[in-house]
Amino acid sequence: MFGALADPTRWRVLTLLAERGEGTATTLAGELPVSRVAVVKHLAVLDRAGLVEGRRAGREVRYTVRTEQLDATARWMAGLASQWDARLAAIKRIAEGR
């Protein structure tokens, strides 16, 4: 998932989708300085990472943001951050001789 978010344009696609509630490759490309084909590729990567989901509507696919994956990753990173907090607190205890 981190890989999926590493690309700035892809991150922009995701934030735009979150802003608009939903979008298609065509509507998203209209608001970004990249081609529709490029947006289709970015959406495919986001879809594989579980960050968006698409529903076919006629000739287009409407995409919405899925928050479960972001939420799970946020929890994972929160856990890593609290591990660092615990380690820093231990360094503090040792350095302060307590």
Binding site: E19, D71, M77, A78, A95
Partner: protein, 151 residues
């Protein structure tokens, strides 16, 4: 712009030299980090090997040694093969910086490079499935960009 890093810091009522020695002395590392032994070859390119009773051994490679201000290493803690040599796609960079504040020290840690980890989310969840916490970096970043996100 992407959820690539974790940053934490703490103020310690001890001079930077003291904090530096706690940070880089293998015996101390076995107190605040590992719990089943630590070995450190304190020079760029040197090895840092840490063992835990429950989690086994992790190998890290020292990237920077600038006493008493900066110490950095690259490790494989979040990858499936924790015993592997740190390299492209399997490691993150951990950087400590020490800044004097009067008689105290501001110690900051930045862990970065999550974006290039080839580890799958399932592996992460498997390693850290007991983790909970209030720090929602990803959602906050997204939230800051869009103003509203359904959580």
């Amino acid at each position: 712009m992407s959820p690539d890093r974790i940053e934490r810091e703490i103020t310690i009522a001890a001079p930077v030299e003291r904090v530096w020695s706690v940070l880089t002395d293998a015996e101390h590392i076995n107190g605040w980090f590992a719990d089943d032994g630590a070995e450190l070859d304190l020079r760029p390119g040197g090895a840092l090997v840490m063992s835990w009773k429950k989690h086994g051994t992790t190998r890290a490679r020292v990237e920077a040694v600038e006493p008493p201000r900066r110490f950095a290493y690259r490790w494989t803690a979040h990858h499936a093969e924790q015993g592997a040599e740190p390299g492209e796609g399997n490691s993150t960079l951990v950087e400590f910086t020490l800044a004097p504040e009067g008689d105290a020290t501001r110690l900051r840690v930045v862990e970065s490079g999550f974006a290039v980890l080839a580890t799958t989310d399932e592996q992460r969840q498997g390693n850290y499935d007991d983790n909970v916490g209030g720090w929602k970096q990803v959602l906050e970043q997204l939230d800051a960009h869009v103003g509203r996100v359904a959580v």
